[in-house]
């Protein structure tokens, strides 16, 4: 045990040596720290592979996923429905339960997590194969942080 009973008035001043050390913080946006491989950000959905079963909507704990009609995807295979998930990112908690229960594996999550807009409707959209803002998934979208 290195805790002493009486303590010292001098020992805290040894912390001053930290002043000559490098800081632990990074300067965003000059330095971009990529999120981890497993980071849970926005969704992508392969609309051709998706069968519109609605499992993602049923398992969502926040009621963030609504199945919306997509008549162009009406197919005759059993279990296939002309519906596709629409995600409300004002409600989504990024738990990824929807991704876990997707039977086709079409619904996935990418590492992009930044979206800034003054219109609230822009936070509700139908995920497709493109990543939001069409940026690579490991770069912070600093351009969109500035107001247009």
């Amino acid at each position: 045990m290195s805790v002493k009973k009486e303590g010292s008035y001098v020992s805290p001043f040894r912390a001053l040596k930290q002043l000559v050390k490098k800081p632990h913080t990074v300067q965003i946006p000059k330095v971009v720290k990529p999120p981890a491989e497993r980071y849970r950000g926005f969704h992508t959905n392969n609309l051709e592979v998706c069968i519109g079963c609605g499992n993602c909507s049923r398992v969502c704990p926040d009621n963030a996923i609504k199945m919306v009609p997509f008549p162009e995807y009406a197919r005759k295979e059993p279990g296939s429905m002309p519906l596709r998930p629409q995600v409300d990112y004002g409600r989504c908690c990024f738990c990824a339960l929807c991704v876990e229960v997707c039977p086709t594996g079409s619904l996935q999550m990418v590492r992009t997590f930044t979206h800034v807009d003054e219109k609230k409707d822009s936070f509700v959209f139908i995920p497709d194969s493109k990543v939001v803002h069409e940026t690579p998934d490991f770069v912070l979208d600093t351009k969109n942080l500035r107001r247009k």
């Binding site: 045990m1 290195s2 805790v3 002493k4 009486e6 303590g7 010292s8 008035y9 020992s11 805290p12 040894r14 912390a15 632990h24 913080t25 999120p35 981890a36 491989e37 497993r38 980071y39 849970r40 499992n55 049923r58 398992v59 704990p61 926040d62 908690c93 990024f94 738990c95 990824a96 339960l97 876990e100 229960v101 999550m109």
Partner: protein
């Protein structure tokens, strides 16, 4: 003889000396507190009722929000209760990953705690160091779970995924770093005479009082009461790990802080035991969960408790055979520490110690309100 005039002072909810959205009205006579009344309720979100509307699998996405600095214990407490109810046996590797997460969560909560108490007595550097070092733990959480604060990872049946390749080495490297940092913290904080003079002898609690008021966790162990859910009602991988219950004697602010500092060292040792074991185990099998959308649990009731960084955190779950809990009740440590105990212990203390006592008891207002 004329009566002294007393003044009512409001601490919180917007006050740096309060641990969150919480308020205390103290009546002071000069510099001494003569009466205190806590005002909780600013964070009431109705978790217990909300759980009744959810599937068994949806619980962890909600209840991790009960205690923000230490969310993994909430998830695991609920998961343990549901596993006992459903008779599920978590695979060995899953149990070890769960314990690894819980100890990492304890470390990050204690780093917050060190900074919180030090800030309340004017030693602000400790808080900056604590939050900075905590971020390295959050980086590892991000790698393991995909999220930094609310991990939503410990489901009934086991943790969600196996560890990524090389994760154990990264954890060991971080433990070496934290052990080195703990020596720096000793110099700056735990051996700081300003801290010792302010904390020693302030608001002492006896073992008998702790037992009467249902005080648990490090606050109880600081009085000399050897109580620990990890030993008394083992869960996850704790039955296989080698550790002793650490206790102090005095039960004052100093003992409560030093108790956590000693447990910080113990957690580092536990994490090293876990990573050693994880390296030897076959990878892959970590979780057993039936189809989450059609998962029904037979009628019954069960209680699962975990030793969180604040004390015993338990979940009582009742099933009527449906797809979600019929009733869920949480037993949090902060309701006894922050309401009953705090109101009594703060009487007789100086105004300067109102915030210090709250931080030393490690009160978590979201856990009080729920």
């Amino acid at each position: 003889m004329s009566q002294t005039k007393t003044i009512d002072l409001f601490f919180g909810p917007q006050h740096p000396g309060i641990t969150g959205n919480f308020s205390v009205r103290v009546t002071v006579d000069g510099d001494t507190v003569v009466k205190a009344q806590v005002i909780p309720g600013f964070l009431h979100r109705g978790f217990e009722k909300l759980m009744e509307m959810r599937h068994w699998i949806q619980g962890p996405a909600l209840i991790c929000r009960i205690c923000v600095p230490d969310p993994d214990h909430s998830e695991t407490g609920y998961a343990t209760a549901v596993e006992r109810l459903a008779g599920i046996e978590v695979p060995e590797r899953g149990r070890y990953i769960r314990s690894l997460m819980l100890e990492m969560s304890r470390l990050s909560a204690y780093l917050f705690y060190f900074g919180g108490y030090a800030g309340s007595i004017g030693l602000y550097t400790v808080g900056q160091w604590g939050v900075g070092d905590r971020d390295y733990i959050l980086d590892l959480f991000e790698e393991l779970t995909g999220a930094r604060v609310y991990h939503i990872f410990n489901f009934p049946g086991g943790p969600r995924w196996d560890t990524p390749p090389g994760f154990e080495d990264k954890v060991d490297k971080l433990m070496d770093f934290l052990e080195k940092r703990l020596k720096e913290f000793d110099k700056l904080y735990f051996n700081n005479r300003v801290f010792i003079k302010r904390a020693r002898g302030t608001a002492p609690m006896t073992k008998a009082y702790a037992q009467k008021m249902e005080v648990t966790g490090p606050n109880a162990r600081a009085t000399g009461w050897a109580i620990d859910v990890r030993k008394d009602d083992p869960y996850a991988a704790y039955p296989d790990l080698d550790f002793d219950i650490i206790t102090q004697k005095e039960g004052d602010n100093y003992a409560r802080v030093i108790q956590r500092r000693m447990e910080f060292e113990q957690s580092i040792d536990l994490i090293r035991q876990i990573t050693r074991k994880l390296r030897k185990m076959p990878r892959g099998n970590v979780r057993v969960t039936p189809n989450p959308l059609h998962w029904k649990i037979p009628p019954g009731e069960a209680y699962g408790a975990v030793e969180s960084s604040k004390g015993e955190l338990g979940y009582y779950v009742v099933s009527d055979g449906g797809i979600g809990p019929y009733r869920m009740q949480a037993r949090g440590p902060s309701i006894s520490h922050g309401v009953q105990v705090y109101e009594e212990m703060v009487v007789g203390q100086r105004v300067a110690d109102v915030a210090a006592l709250m931080f030393s008891l490690d009160v978590c207002p979201p856990d009080i309100d729920r």
